[in-house]
């Protein structure tokens, strides 16, 4: 039994990272009142930029680990830029966010795919980022492998959960973000620019979504393809609702999803005689069921989510 749990967790944690990062990013957007359905597009761009920088540097003969640092930096920047671009559309021009998000998704996935196919031509790979066991801690039996034998981004993502909780609840900026998502008019009335806070949160959220993409292309599969993200952005958005806009809730959602994902793969390999489609559905079904039966009384939700703020237009 312990073995079984171990084998699920040891994979479930790294597999959850891209969803976790993207979902945390989306949480920043939503807590500030912006519903960004374009997460998929941002992830795609992050994955592409994160991949393409090391790819070309390797071809240029650069070997050191710095290429991945640059790649990651690139993905963060690309994500943040796309976030800001989205901000122009939904904050400055006040376009409806749902439809604009779909536009952003197409744009991001499309640009990543187009540039990739033009400049690289075909599916390609890089050696990618290697796991970095934490000294000592990784030697603890079982636990060591589950928690302390991953690539740096995994640790970073896990640390980002308490950090995000802290930022949201304890930092000045987090206070503003929360306020913007609930009562932008009140924020405006004390002289804080709602638009600026929302732009900032879009940049942060975008950067995280970009990183989520880069995690896939640099750590998890170490390759890029135009269909790499395959809908994970939408799942990330859904997980924000699962987590009730709370980093810990999102962590639990991402883990539940990924662990179930590993579980269903294991069920398949064990040769249980049901159509494999049922196994594939399992994570999706389970997420719905768990949310159905979980306690939803504590309502933290940003009540102005999705509504553009316009100081003079009071309707």
């Amino acid at each position: 039994m312990i073995d079984f749990l171990y084998s699920i967790l040891v994979l479930g944690i790294p597999f959850s990272v891209s969803l976790l990062l993207a979902s945390l990013g989306e949480m920043y957007n939503q807590r500030a009142g912006i519903f960004n359905l374009g997460c998929e597009g941002v992830m795609s761009m992050g994955a592409f930029v994160g991949f393409v920088i090391p790819y070309f540097l390797i071809r240029a003969g650069v070997e050191s680990g710095i290429i991945y640092v640059l790649g990651i930096a690139g993905s963060l920047a690309a994500g943040a830029l796309l976030g800001l671009f989205f901000g122009v559309v939904v904050i400055t021009f006040k376009a409806p966010q749902g439809i604009a998000g779909i536009g952003l998704q197409m744009f991001g996935v499309g640009v990543a795919g187009t540039l990739f196919r033009h400049f690289i031509g075909g599916i390609a790979s890089v050696p990618g980022i290697k796991p970095m066991p934490v000294p000592l801690l990784s030697k603890i039996p079982l636990v060591g492998n589950i928690f302390f034998n991953h690539s740096l981004i995994v640790y970073l993502a896990l640390i980002l959960v308490p950090v995000s909780a802290w930022v949201m609840n304890r930092s000045s900026w987090g206070l503003r973000v929360r306020a913007c998502g609930t009562a932008p008019r009140a924020v405006d009335s004390v002289g804080i620019s709602v638009d600026r806070v929302r732009y900032q949160s879009l940049a942060v959220g975008g950067a995280l979504a970009g990183l989520a993409g880069a995690y896939l292309s640099l750590c998890q599969v170490k390759m890029f393809a135009d269909t790499l993200i395959s809908g994970r952005g939408f799942i990330a958005v859904a997980l924000v609702y699962f987590g009730r806009w709370n980093p810990w809730g999102i962590l639990w959602g991402a883990l539940l999803f990924s662990v179930t994902q590993v579980l269903q793969l294991k069920i398949q390999t064990m040769g249980i005689n049901v159509p494999y489609e049922f196994a594939v559905m399992l994570p999706y079904v389970l997420v719905i069921i768990v949310l159905t039966f979980s306690n939803k009384n504590f309502q933290l939700g940003p009540s102005s989510l999705g509504k553009a703020f316009d100081r003079e237009n009071r309707l």
């Binding site: 359905l37 597009g41 122009v88 559309v89 021009f93 006040k94 376009a95 409806p96 749902g98 439809i99 604009a100 779909i102 536009g103 952003l104 998704q105 197409m106 744009f107 991001g108 996935v109 499309g110 640009v111 795919g113 187009t114 540039l115 990739f116 196919r117 033009h118 135009d226 809908g231 939408f234 799942i235 958005v237 859904a238 997980l239 609702y241 699962f242 159509p275 489609e277 049922f278 594939v280 559905m281 999706y284 079904v285 997420v287 719905i288 949310l291 159905t292 939803k296 316009d310 003079e312 237009n313």
Partner: protein
């Protein structure tokens, strides 16, 4: 300058700036891959309309888009963003396929309506799930519909691979998941010889009118819209908000299901993979862009049908990678919604007018000085 004049100038300017911005954005990507900018845009918007045949192809895309968008509008008007149309459409295809393939003996006047009804029921039932979860258990429809889309995709393949598979596939083929070809009497009539335009378009347009009457002329539609616009007031007014929310989702799902049924009966004539092809998502764009009103949805569906067909033509006529289609679609959506908002926001226009008048004022003062 009078107000009307200013308004006209203002709107034209915004439009021109937007076109320029869209072109610029597209140009940056096109330029990066060394493709002609103007030609690409011309191909998307004009080329499909140059040939009669391709125009009918645009209309073919319009059919499922209108149907899905109508359903999404009903849901949205009731306060739900239904992003599960993709899954509901697949379910509709399954429903129609089951009837069309399992009752091949039925005559035409029975098999077509029955297949469609089956599609409607399957789609509606699949819409019921997120509606019920939201109304009764407080599960966000965004979460449930995203998940249900994946579940539908697997269920669809499971059925095509299992009970519905074309037996010939197991004998002469390689077991590709697809149903048998529907009996001839289950095919929707192709209306114009030499094209694939089928009678589904009549269904779509008629239903657009029906939905208009339903939403704006009946008390059912009224209740639904009230529940969506302000649930508290609706409750106060004696409207059973959660029941209407479920009904709205069922209707929304039913429309997506019907879209699937019409698409498979009219165009593909057998259930295969890749029928829904993102119509569920484009449908959301069409619905919102059409102002959640049938009179807006039909032209908006035509526009996006045009973009789909024209976009696909760019890879042949301009030679850009097929992914470019998505880029351009994205840019077009983003610019159009921005422009629409800016033009329709009187506050922004008022501010612009004030600024304009002030600068005019200054100029004339300077001129005098």
């Amino acid at each position: 300058m009078t107000k009307q004049q200013f308004s006209l100038v203002y709107k034209t300017t915004v439009l021109l700036i937007a076109i320029a911005a869209a072109a610029l954005l597209g140009a940056m990507v096109l330029w990066a891959i060394g493709a002609p900018v103007l030609k690409t845009f011309l191909v998307i918007f004009l080329e499909p309309l140059k040939s009669f045949y391709i125009t009918t192809e645009v209309l073919i895309r319009l059919i499922p888009l209108v149907l899905i968008a109508l359903g999404i509008a009903v849901a949205f008007r009731s306060g739900i963003l239904n992003i599960g149309a993709e899954g509901q459409m697949l379910m509709g295809i399954l429903g129609a396929t089951i009837v069309a393939t399992q009752m091949p003996g039925l005559p035409r006047f029975a098999i077509i309506p029955l297949s469609m009804i089956a599609g409607v029921i399957f789609g509606g039932a699949y819409g019921f799930i997120p509606g019920f979860l939201k109304a009764k258990l407080g599960v966000s429809e965004l979460l449930s519909t995203v998940m249900l889309n994946y579940i539908a995709a697997q269920t669809y393949i499971l059925c095509l691979r299992g009970p519905l598979i074309d037996p010939a596939e197991l004998v002469t083929g390689s077991g590709t998941p697809q149903s048998i070809r529907f009996p001839r009497q289950a095919w929707l009539t192709r209306m114009v010889p030499g094209t694939r335009l089928h009678t589904g378009i009549i269904i779509a347009l008629v239903l657009a009118v029906v939905i208009y009457f339903f939403l704006w002329r009946t008390s059912w539609g009224y209740k639904m819209r009230a529940a969506g616009a302000e649930a508290k007031a609706a409750r106060y007014g004696g409207i059973n908000v959660s029941a209407w929310l479920i009904i709205a989702m069922v209707i929304s799902g039913a429309f997506a299901g019907l879209a699937g049924a019409v698409e498979v009966l009219g165009l593909h004539r057998r259930a295969i993979e890749g029928i829904s092809m993102g119509y569920g998502f484009t449908g959301i764009v069409v619905a919102l862009f059409g102002g959640l009103h049938p009179a807006g949805i039909v032209p908006s569906a035509f526009l996006f049908g045009l973009i789909l067909v024209g976009g696909d033509m760019t890879q042949r006529m301009v030679g850009v990678p097929v992914n470019m289609v998505q880029v351009l679609q994205g840019i077009i959506i983003l610019t159009i919604v921005s422009v629409k908002m800016v033009i329709n926001n009187p506050y922004i226009m008022e501010r612009a007018e004030r600024r304009f008048n002030k600068s005019e004022h200054k100029k004339s003062e300077e001129a005098q000085a």
